[in-house]
Every structure is written in structure tokens, then in C-alpha cells.
């Protein structure tokens, strides 16, 4: 990948907003993932160039953070919480159900995550970082299907496609 013209402009603005360019590694990695849906080796090379560091350093930083996907994933990233409130309100069962249901679906990537700060509506999940809570296995599936049909759309941060 390379940044699109518009994203390159965004990237330059981001780098300029920090006293030191290296601080822009995470925001540029987010931008690349917003554009491509994952963080490719080419993207990390371009980020290294823009921040004046080695590609290995970009990888070293980015591999620490679970949000960055270093392999392509489905268009819909479904993050299901199983932490201690969701644990006793159906989170683990929801995760198991969705993993089974979408195991053959290339469009949907289901992952287990830690507390999403949505515990008052446990069990909770995010689809492309949009919050959904008070879920049952059936309602969660309905929501994911609505994203698949394009009736629900995430606001275009990671997992979306920012052109």
C-alpha cells in the first residue's frame, strides 16, 4: 500500500502536530489501517520514512498493540468482551456462538477482547469499534448481518475504509 493523496496530506498534518515525528507512529498506523483494513509491511515502511526511523522500529512499536492487525482481516471486526462483568452476563457464550457462526465467513473477523467500558450494558461488543450492548446471541447476529447488508455503517475508524 501507499497512502492515497488525501491520506498523505492527513499524514503530514499529523506528523507536524507533534514536537517529535516519532510520536506520529501510532496515529499513522491507525490511518493506514483505516485505509487498508490492516497494517501491511509496506505501510510500516512508509510510516518509517515519514517519521525518520527504521521500519523495524515501527514494527517493534506496532506489534505491542492488539488493535493493529498485521494480517488482512475481514471487513467487519467484531470484538466481544468476556471480562468480569460480561463473564457473568453471557459474554463467553456470545463469543463462542459468534466464532462458530462466522468461522466460514471471510467478511467477519471475530475476536475476544478485554473490558470495553460498556459494562452497564453487559454483555457488550464492538463492530468496527461501534458499541453494541445488552446483547443476546440472536440480537448480536442481527446486528452483524445489518452491517453486512450495509444498513449499519461504522464511522470509518479502523476496520472501515478511509479513502
Amino acid at each position: 500500500m501507499t497512502f492515497t493523496t488525501k491520506n498523505l496530506e492527513r499524514a503530514r498534518t499529523i506528523v507536524a502536530s507533534y514536537p517529535r515525528p516519532k510520536s506520529a507512529v501510532l496515529p499513522l498506523a491507525h490511518l493506514a489501517q483505516d485505509q487498508d483494513g490492516w497494517l501491511s509491511p509496506e505501510a510500516m515502511r512508509e510510516i518509517a520514512l515519514m517519521t525518520g526511523i527504521e521500519p523495524a522500529e515501527v514494527l517493534g512499536t506496532c506489534s505491542f498493540y492488539t488493535m493493529f492487525k498485521r494480517d488482512p482481516v475481514g471487513r467487519l471486526v467484531v470484538s466481544v468482551c468476556t471480562n468480569v462483568t460480561c463473564l457473568v452476563t453471557g459474554g463467553p457464550e456470545l463469543l463462542e456462538h459468534l466464532v462458530d457462526r462466522y468461522s466460514d465467513d471471510d467478511e467477519v473477523f471475530v475476536e475476544e477482547v478485554e473490558c470495553l467500558a460498556s459494562c452497564d450494558g453487559a454483555p457488550a461488543m464492538q463492530v468496527n469499534y461501534e458499541f453494541h450492548d445488552g446483547l443476546t446471541t440472536a440480537s448480536a447476529e442481527d446486528i452483524i448481518e445489518a452491517y453486512k447488508r450495509g444498513e449499519l455503517v461504522a464511522r470509518g475508524t479502523s476496520g472501515g475504509r478511509l479513502s
Partner: protein, 442 residues
């Protein structure tokens, strides 16, 4: 009389649910009036007079007095940075997310007041990466505040300049720890630094830096408007003012409640206007105050009638009010299952920099996992305890010590110490009996 909310930092959010996050909604309900007053009274009157008099203590977890933290900044050393900790990842804490999404202008106003007081011209908001709506609202609110002259150069004619950069994290609980956060903001892996030096002396880019929590900073406009002395009349002892409590689990009305410090846990859990009691009117088996890092309390009168007073609960029971989370479990819940899930969390989130934490958290998780699955051995609880002692010597007798660089290691031990204190017989019975609930290791 039953306990009710005291709405200071949640007033706008509750009164103007339809548009509290917009500049129009905020301005129509008094936003930036605190900033105007702050500029009028002058920089020196803010920190060491008003904030000091208010008794405000950090809402991020440690409860450190805010004015004291600011006073550590070395004189005449510039630039200085202000960094807002909006990484909210402590399990079962969801108050900052609400403040960010529903009232970004209150936070921005607080940031300008704090930055003006400590003479900082560039502030950062380190925002949890998963908060997409919060990010959008913050970015929009910053642009709107700029357009109205509350940010940028010569703010409201004061001659003071400030820019705010929103920096998104990317999924690492440890980045909530203030020095790991600064590493992350510098483009590094989020691994904590050895302190001292503390951030106030050598923080971001080795410059003097103040790190404060979202709720702490959101309180500032109100302290300036009310006057620090008036604010300090709220609350109890050295726990002044109000705090937001994130109540979750088996209460009838889970949610965020802003209450005056000093009401009791029973008030919080049972008042019809607050938690509303336990689902199906069951009994409380145990509850975890202060987030996953705290030790637990049980449903005894002694514990339920304890006041929400940061020092009292620490000194009396060795627990924290921490991040303001309160997770409530009724009698149907197996405490070992909850402990295992907490242990799994800490094992996953340990940054790996120190050996006792990296190795110990993994061991705790493994042993609890086998107990939950019916493969426990009678000696397991004591073995767990040895591991905990290696991370946090003296863990049963707070204040304990730590062998690690940051407090995450000792936090991972809290669940085991709590099992030992309150549920030892239950654990031993499980070590002898069949699996209670099959869980998958992932």
C-alpha cells in the same frame, strides 16, 4: 432518607441528553464560564489557591492530590506538557467514556484551565483506541472550541495560547499507567519507566509533564466557579467532593452515578435512585470496589456499611476506591471463576518488562484455570500464594511492597489475596471436587 446523586460533572449530561456534546448545547448550559472566571482570577489563584482548597484528588486510580502534583513542576522550566489520561481500560470502569462522549467541552474547558494554571501551551489527550465515538466527538469539539476562541492563540484575550492533540492508543491496558502512556505517546511500546524521576520532573520528551485523569480535569471548571472552599464542603474527610461510580454486575440499575463521597456502599448498591438493589432480590456474595486492581469486599454489614472514603477503605479493609468501578456479584457466582478471569486479564496485559510480573501472572492464570476446571490440587492455594508473595511481598498485610516496576504486578495479586481471605474453603472444596463450569482457555 435514601441516597441520591449530587450532579456536578454530570449535570449537563443528564439535563441536556439530546445535545450535551455540541458547542451549542454546552454553551447554553454554562460551558466555558469557569474558564472566563479562571482567567479573571489569574493563573496563581487557580492551582495553589482554588484547587488546593478544594482538596481535589486524582480520579484515575491513585487518588493523589492534584494541586500537590502540579506543585512538583520545577520552576521556570519550559516547555511543560499536560497529558490527559483518557485510556480507561480498568475492567468495569466506564465513567471516562461517558464524560468524553457526552461532554467533551467540559473536559476541554478543564484542560484550558489546567494548562493556563501550569503554563503549558501544548496538551495531549491520550485516548483509548477503541473509543471511536469519543474520538469523533473530541475532534469536533476541539474544532468548535477553536472557532469560538476558547483554544488557539490569545484565548479570550488573555495572551495565553494552547493547542490540544488527541492521540489514540491502540489496545494496551498498560498504557493507562502514566509512564507507559508517555512512552506510547513518544511512539514506543507502552512499557513503564522506572520512577523517579516522576513525570512532573522528567515526563514527555524528558520535559516537566502533568498527567491527569479525564474526570479530575473535568471537575476543574466547577471548582473554579464554586470556589475551592465550597467544593471541599462536599464529601468526607480527605475525600472531598463528588465522584463518578461505575456500577455494574448484578444490581437492578447498572450505570454511572455521581455521588457525594461519604455515602456507604449499601447506599450505592441499594438506593432506589442508585443501584436499586440486587436482581431478583438476591444477596450480595462479593463486590469489587475500585476496578480489577483492588482487593474485594463481601456482602457483610461491616463491608456494605463502609463509607466511600478513599483512606478509610484502604486503611480498614486494604481495598481501593481506585477508578470508581464497583462490580457486584450475587450468590450464584463462583468467585474462583471471577478470579481466574481477572488473572487472565493481567497475564494478557503484563508488558513483560519485569520477571515476577511476566512469569507470575501467567502462573496465577494457569493454576486458577485448572482449579476452575476441576483439576485443582489441595496444595494449589498455598502455591498460588507463593507466586503472589514473589510479586508482592506481604500481600496479606497492606500496605504491601512490590518487586516490580509498576503497580500492575501487585494488582494481579489482589484476586488471589481476596480468595484467600474470604473464600478459602470454597477453593479447597473445588480442588477436591469436579469441575464447576467448563471454560475455554484462549
Amino acid at each position: 432518607m435514601s441516597a441520591v446523586e449530587t450532579r456536578i460533572i454530570t449535570k449537563r449530561i443528564r439535563d441536556r441528553a439530546e445535545d450535551s456534546w455540541t458547542i451549542d448545547g454546552a454553551l447554553a448550559s454554562g460551558a466555558y464560564e469557569g474558564l472566563k472566571k479562571a482567567i479573571a482570577i489569574g493563573r496563581d489563584a487557580i492551582g495553589q489557591e482554588q484547587v488546593k482548597a478544594s482538596g481535589l484528588r486524582g480520579r484515575g486510580g491513585a487518588g493523589f492530590p492534584t494541586a500537590t502534583k502540579w506543585s512538583f513542576l520545577p520552576e521556570a522550566s519550559f516547555p511543560r506538557y499536560l497529558v490527559i489520561n483518557a485510556d480507561e481500560g480498568e475492567p468495569s470502569t466506564f465513567k471516562d467514556r461517558m464524560l468524553l462522549e457526552a461532554d467533551p467541552h467540559q473536559l476541554i474547558e478543564g484542560i484550558v484551565i489546567a494548562a493556563y494554571a501550569i503554563e503549558c501551551n501544548l496538551a495531549f489527550i491520550y485516548l483509548r483506541g477503541e473509543f471511536a465515538l469519543g474520538y469523533e466527538r473530541l475532534v469536533d469539539a476541539i474544532a468548535a472550541a477553536h472557532a469560538k476562541g476558547f483554544l488557539g492563540s490569545n484565548i479570550l484575550g488573555s495572551g495565553f495560547d494552547l493547542e490540544i492533540v488527541v492521540h489514540r492508543g491502540a489496545g494496551a491496558y498498560i498504557c493507562g499507567e502514566e509512564t507507559a502512556l508517555l512512552e506510547s505517546l513518544e511512539g514506543e511500546r507502552g512499557m513503564p519507566r522506572i520512577r523517579p524521576p516522576f513525570p512532573a520532573i522528567e515526563g514527555l520528551y524528558a520535559k516537566p509533564t502533568v498527567v491527569n485523569n479525564v474526570e479530575t480535569i473535568s471537575t476543574l471548571p466547577h471548582i473554579v466557579l464554586m470556589g475551592g472552599d465550597e467544593y471541599a464542603k462536599l464529601g468526607v474527610n480527605r475525600s472531598t467532593g463528588t465522584r463518578l461510580f461505575s456500577l455494574s454486575g448484578h444490581v437492578k440499575r447498572p450505570g454511572n452515578y455521581e455521588v457525594e463521597l461519604g455515602i456507604t456502599f449499601r447506599d450505592l448498591l441499594y438506593s432506589p435512585e442508585l443501584g436499586g438493589g440486587i436482581r431478583e432480590d438476591r444477596a450480595v456474595k462479593f463486590f469489587i470496589p475500585g476496578g480489577a486492581s483492588s482487593q474485594w469486599l463481601i456482602g457483610s454489614d461491616e463491608h456494605l456499611d463502609a463509607p466511600l472514603d478513599m483512606d478509610y477503605v484502604q486503611q480498614t479493609f486494604g481495598v481501593m476506591l481506585g477508578s470508581g468501578a464497583v462490580m457486584v456479584y450475587d450468590e450464584t457466582v463462583n468467585p474462583v471463576l471471577v478470579a481466574w478471569r481477572l488473572a487472565k486479564f493481567f497475564a494478557h496485559e503484563s508488558c513483560g518488562k519485569c520477571t515476577p510480573c511476566r512469569e507470575g501472572t501467567g502462573w496465577i492464570e494457569k493454576v486458577l484455570f485448572r482449579i476452575v476446571n476441576g483439576h485443582g490440587r489441595p496444595q494449589d492455594l498455598d502455591m498460588l500464594f507463593d507466586v503472589c508473595e514473589s510479586i508482592s511481598p506481604g500481600v496479606m498485610n497492606a500496605p504491601f511492597t512490590q518487586t516490580t516496576i509498576c503497580p500492575l504486578g501487585p494488582s494481579a495479586v489482589s484476586c488471589v489475596a481476596s480468595l484467600q481471605k474470604y473464600f478459602r474453603d470454597e477453593v479447597l472444596a473445588m480442588c477436591a471436587g469436579p469441575a464447576l463450569i467448563p471454560v475455554s482457555a484462549s
